[in-house]
């Protein structure tokens, strides 16, 4: 079943990158792409019941990482929609569940919070629907672990185009750090005051730090943030990315919300340059692939070597007139073959394998 991981992953990423191009987090946009790609057919084909179950399970675990960091907000929304859609269209009965690991729960709750804060009601609704439909296993780990040590482990490789661009400055300077800084500052001033009081020196000599450091820092960060918003705002002007939700915006806190939205927006949609770069990269890859397979057009190259026996036989048989003789010779060790049986078709040797009853 493992051989399906790669194609399923690539189908999911195809869907999500189309979703990314819409620059929207609306469910309708997702559903349109889903239908256009005929995604439900991923479950079609003749499969035994247990095969179907195993495949459903594999699809769920493969789609799961997209709702988690390091993916950006928009991709995570797409990932959530994808899980919702896959869960509901799978053909296994009862349905295979989405396994959520405890370690991921915190970030999923934060993600949901972000969606609430920016009033993406469709995201909230679908998240809640999955929970109330009991579509989730609350587990230790996202998949069962059985110590499958492999020479070439198949881990989930993060799709770079979907990665979140970290807002380092914002992460670094929060209200708490500002408060902390002003506290330290205050303390520092007090200590300085006691020193000057005892020694009688003028305090300008040890005035090494800007007096209102906190306010100053805050200003700088705000200016930077505004500039950033302006830049990214220009970039996504064409899309309706900032559309808050189903026509329920309250005019009262619109300015504050706009600010908030802008910060989320910059998190979610500031990917355009990186995305195109990686697409170019993918183009190169495809070109390479094309040139590699050029010499055997239309045929999938198997990179497995033929067995030693097969190669030897081929080498020998290619030597024209030797052919007949060799064929005879190679049969001589078939001691048990009776004379009259000789022209019979080679028998299928697949009779009994001691260890494997399958």
């Amino acid at each position: 079943m493992e051989y399906f991981i790669e194609p399923v992953k690539s189908d999911c990423e195809d869907l999500l990158s189309r979703f990314q191009r819409t620059e929207s987090v609306r469910y309708e946009e997702f559903a349109a792409i889903w239908r256009k790609m005929d995604f439900p057919s991923i479950f079609y084909g003749k499969m035994a019941a247990n095969e179907m179950r195993a495949f459903s399970r594999l699809v769920m675990t493969t789609a799961y990482p997209y709702v988690l960091p390091p993916y950006n907000f928009q991709i995570r929304v797409g990932g959530l929609y994808l899980l919702y859609a896959l869960y509901n269209t799978q053909l296994a009965v009862p349905k295979e569940k989405i396994t959520i690991a405890l370690k991921d729960w915190e970030s999923i709750m934060k993600f949901q919070q972000d969606a609430v804060n920016s009033q993406h009601y469709d995201v909230c609704y679908i998240f809640r629907k999955l929970l109330s439909d009991k579509a989730v296993f609350f587990a230790a780990m996202p998949k069962p672990l059985s110590f499958q040590v492999k020479r070439k482990p198949k881990r989930h490789l993060v799709c770079e185009a979907f990665r979140d661009r970290p807002a380092r400055v914002k992460d670094l300077i929060t209200t708490e750090t500002l408060e902390e800084i002003s506290n330290v500052q205050e303390h520092y001033e007090k200590v300085k005051a006691t020193i000057t009081a005892s020694s009688g020196q003028s305090d300008t000599a040890i005035s090494l730090i800007n007096k209102d450091l906190g306010a100053c820092l805050q200003d700088t960060v705000m200016t930077y943030q505004n500039w950033l918003d302006e830049v990214t705002g220009k970039r996504t002007d064409s899309g309706d990315a900032a559309d808050p939700g189903e026509g329920t915006s309250k005019q009262g806190d619109s300015s504050r919300r706009a600010e908030l939205l802008a910060s989320i927006k910059s998190k979610s949609y500031g990917q355009l340059t990186e995305a195109s770069k990686s697409r170019r990269h993918r183009q190169v890859e495809m070109d390479m692939f094309a040139s590699e397979t050029k010499h055997t057009p239309g045929v999938r190259v198997r990179n497995r070597m033929p067995s030693l026996k097969a190669r030897t036989k081929k080498n020998l048989l290619n030597k024209g007139n030797l052919r007949e003789e060799i064929l005879q010779a190679t049969k001589q060790w078939h001691l048990s073959v009776a004379e009259q049986d000789k022209p019979a078709k080679p028998r299928d040797h697949k009779r009994f394998k001691y260890s494997h009853p399958a």
């Binding site: 559903a31 679908i126 809640r128 189903e246």
Partner: protein, 400 residues
């Protein structure tokens, strides 16, 4: 800056029980994390882990009962501060109809891969199916069929007696028990059985659920008294066993005649400058008490030297679709099917006897079913014919 933050904090407060859930405290190392990615976790305390999930979740999401959709929608509207019309609108926007690709009255043919599929997955499946069709005979894996059968036995099963109902919030643990590698035929396939146990189970309950051929062996030569043979199986004779989990030997000391099998190992370890191992009693330990790694190979040892690798593969809150009859746990969900060896004479029935130094048999040793063994080796009065040694034989397929 400050205003934005206090605003979002207010929102956080309001939203913290959206979906009725909060986030677990992250300063705890009993949140399972990978030690090696996709292979095994670091050790964590099962009981604490259970509590962390339960503190975090609204019980209605792991209850075995349906969530009432209308009250759910109502609550959603209230928490989001949106009017019922908007919720209804959302319901339509997010309905499952949006995912359907064919008209409702024309359900798709789901067992055929569509021609010229766009999805990579389907192209792969098509290739595989086309290849399968070129094979001369249909290849159905009996192992898989049997697995489906077993798996479906437990699904959604409800107890006859309501008292046997699994409590909501109970956790199930999946355990793989591998067959010992000392048997030649297990070297290529990692034959295993998979069991589901409950968090509240004692280790001894898992022990009793593990089926191993060595427990059924009967030792001794019985050619003179074939009727007395099946009375002493090894399980009743040698009752000691232990689990070795994260440096602790859990010994089964339920029976007075049981001995501490780990003693030799511990003494050897002590004399070779190993850190000292601890011991505990299997019958006094529940899974809730364990602090171990998920995905990591541990050991079960019984019959003195029959060693099984034991791996805890999964642990999660029980789900509505699980087997809900508490009495059926530990639940066998998978078992490798063994080949049965047939009688050398009739080649029809499963062997019950193995003979040695047998002048009547074509091979040494030779396998016989009960009927053939009796008619061949004894006269109608039950007198032994000829010289031979006879041992009871327990077939690997005995558990199938």
């Amino acid at each position: 800056m400050t205003s934005v933050d206090s605003f979002s904090q207010k929102e956080n407060m309001a939203a913290s029980n959206t979906a009725g859930c909060s986030t677990p405290s992250n300063d705890d190392n009993d949140v399972p994390t990978y030690e090696y990615i996709d292979i095994n976790t670091k050790p964590f305390h099962f009981g604490t882990f259970e509590n962390l999930w339960k503190e975090t979740l609204n019980p209605k999401y792991y209850s075995f009962h349906d969530v009432h959709q209308e009250t759910e929608d109502e609550e959603f509207g209230q928490e989001m501060g949106i009017p019922p019309e908007t919720v209804n609108e959302l319901k339509v926007i997010c309905s499952l109809d949006t995912l359907r690709c064919c008209p409702e009255n024309q359900p798709p043919v789901t067992d055929v891969v569509p021609a010229d599929p766009g999805l990579m997955t389907l192209r792969m499946r098509k290739r595989r199916q086309d290849y399968k069709q070129t094979l001369h005979r249909e290849f159905t894996c009996r192992q898989d069929l049997y697995a489906t059968e077993l798996e479906s036995l437990g699904i959604g099963k409800k107890p006859l007696n309501p008292e046997d109902m699994l409590p909501e919030g109970e956790m199930t643990i999946t355990v793989n028990v591998l067959f010992p590698l000392i048997v030649e035929r297990f070297k290529q396939v990692r034959a295993r059985q998979t069991l589901q146990v409950l968090m509240s189970h004692k280790l001894t309950q898992l022990r009793d659920a593990i089926c191993c051929l060595q427990d059924l062996q009967v030792s001794g030569e019985f050619s003179n008294t074939p009727d007395t043979a099946p009375e002493f199986i090894s399980k009743d004779l040698y009752k000691s066993a232990f689990f070795y989990l994260e440096g602790i030997f859990y010994n089964d000391m339920r029976y007075p005649e049981a001995s501490d099998l780990s003693q030799t190992i511990r003494e050897w370890a002590a004399s070779h400058n190993f850190p000292t191992f601890q011991t505990a009693k299997m019958e006094e330990t529940t899974f809730r008490d364990l602090k171990i790694k998920v995905g990591y190979p541990y050991l079960y040892c019984h019959q003195g030297d029959c060693e099984h690798v034991v791996i805890f593969t999964d642990i999660r809150l029980a789900h509505r679709d699980d087997c809900l009859d508490r009495k059926l746990y530990p639940l066998l969900t998978y078992k490798h099917r063994m080949i049965s060896r047939k009688c050398a004479i009739c080649n029809l029935y499963i062997s019950r006897w193995v003979t040695s130094n047998d002048s009547l048999a074509p091979t040494d040793p030779c396998l016989f079913c009960e009927a053939c063994f009796r008619t061949f080796h004894y006269d109608p009065q039950g007198n032994k014919l000829g010289q031979f040694l006879a041992f009871p034989y327990v077939d690997a397929g005995a558990f199938n």
